[in-house]
Symmetry: C2
Subunit: 283 residues, 2 copies
């Protein structure tokens, strides 16, 4: 399926807000939730779409290269606005800022996320000197489907939109036996067949269950800050996503993600800082 026809594209699309230059409006549906909140990747992709329109990047150097978002308050289904600012338009790269907001209980806009992002042309140079090799894992049909996930994930309507197939070696938490290791990996694709593109990779970087699950930390791990780098244009088909975390300190942990396309090419990576309630502090 081409981009532009899928439910993913409908979810992240925006239209110019009448009479307010640089502002765009959209709507979050009910189908992309984790618990009560809208998936962070969807929010980042909508913000990216708004910036692409503002920077008029449909054509030249319109690929997101770097995206850093700070999450301020939880998002929910309903109307959403993205207000953009142009920071720099260069010959080969452009940078902008975007603020995503939703109406609060009293109707006044409440900021959900503030982000900065740079755009360029992923095809500008084909040279690849070195990249991380894709993880060795069983084919999707031998992996554990997200439909086998524990009941507490049933509230995640997001899982109706995507297919996740977790490597059994890193999916012990699904059966209530977390591995204790800060790693998780799996296959990912959109359920409606929409193929990945550079914008969708920002979603893929934040779509797997939290790596914290493998450490026995099953509560909500809100993202405070997320930075993703898109490094290649993905081939159609399944993506491979690998998560890892090395450091859990003082109520904070990082989650690193790397994505390879169906041809085994490295195409994106991210790091996010999450707040966690450790088993000790949760008591």
């Amino acid at each position: 399926m081409a981009s532009g026809q899928s439910e993913f594209d409908a979810e992240i699309s925006v239209e110019p807000a009448e009479g307010r230059p640089g502002a765009y409006v959209g709507s979050f549906g009910d189908g992309w939730r984790i618990g009560n909140g809208v998936n962070g990747g969807v929010i980042m992709c909508l913000a990216t779409t708004a910036l692409q329109r503002r920077l008029d990047l449909d054509g030249a150097h319109g690929d997101p290269l770097a995206f850093s978002g700070f999450f301020l308050t939880p998002s929910g289904p309903g109307p959403v606005e993205a207000t953009t600012e142009v920071l720099r338009v260069g010959r080969t790269m452009s940078t902008g800022q975007v603020s995503v907001a939703q109406p609060g209980p009293d109707g006044a806009l409440v900021e959900r996320m503030r982000a900065l992002a740079s755009f360029g042309d992923l095809d500008a140079s084909a040279s690849v000197l070195q990249t991380a090799a894709p993880p060795d894992m069983p084919p999707p049909e031998d992996c554990i489907s997200s439909t086998d996930a524990p009941e507490f994930l049933a509230a995640a309507t997001l899982l109706d939109r995507i297919e996740i197939r977790l490597d059994p070696a890193t999916a012990g938490w699904v059966g209530g036996r977390p591995s204790g290791r800060g790693e998780m990996r799996g296959w990912l694709r959109l359920r409606d067949g929409r193929d990945p593109d550079p914008v969708m990779l920002l979603f893929a970087l934040d779509a797997l269950p939290p790596v914290a699950f493998n450490l026995g930390i099953l509560g909500w791990a809100p993202t405070l800050e997320f930075t993703g780098h898109v490094r290649g244009r993905p081939a159609p088909g399944w993506l491979r996503v690998s998560l890892s975390s090395q450091n859990i300190t003082a109520g904070l942990m990082e989650e690193d993600a790397t994505v390879w396309d169906s041809e085994g090419r490295f195409v994106a990576q991210s790091r996010q800082l999450c707040g966690i309630r450790t088993p000790r502090s949760a008591n």
Copy 2:
């Protein structure tokens, strides 16, 4: 030496700009250059200092936790302004935005960097569940001093302000024999004896020579985007800094940095996206 008395603190300090709420002024000296540009870590620390003042964070939860900066144009010695915006002030965490600008040739301000940052209290929770172990390397006296660096680094006045002792196993480039591996590690401290603190860690994350040197890429590798996370309050003394890079694609590479304090505790990490001229594209 206590913070506040050192040349580092003088370099990153700001004062409120008269009559312009949220704006702060400072000055970059000539002593923190890499080539013609001011070291990126100095720019980030000045921006952080301005945000701390704006958010009135001298006391409670005033430690930088996450900092993401997008570099727009090269900075140079001379006057500098930081314009701040408060995004969210919470009970335990606050987030702001800062724009760093300098007068251009015609006197009009030119934006150098736009950044977002969150602040909290690194002492709020002492629980540490797991962290990366510090790298095994010889003591500083058995490492290679930055004063042994090749002549092309002579233009870096920054090297008069800091002491760097590189692990010989990762310093082949100093003698013209780059290892070909994307890793570098060394000891770091400020030459005037000023001990590290959370703000200074943002500087430490970006103070070593580029890891690209070990890949034979000796040209300028401008930082497009830098995100640093401060995860612990450092003990006095030498810091250990480890750099790595796995992916060099299409004129871009990431550089990951991790910092441990003199007691071997993990205290900070970062990832930056750099533009590079690969040996092929440089011809």
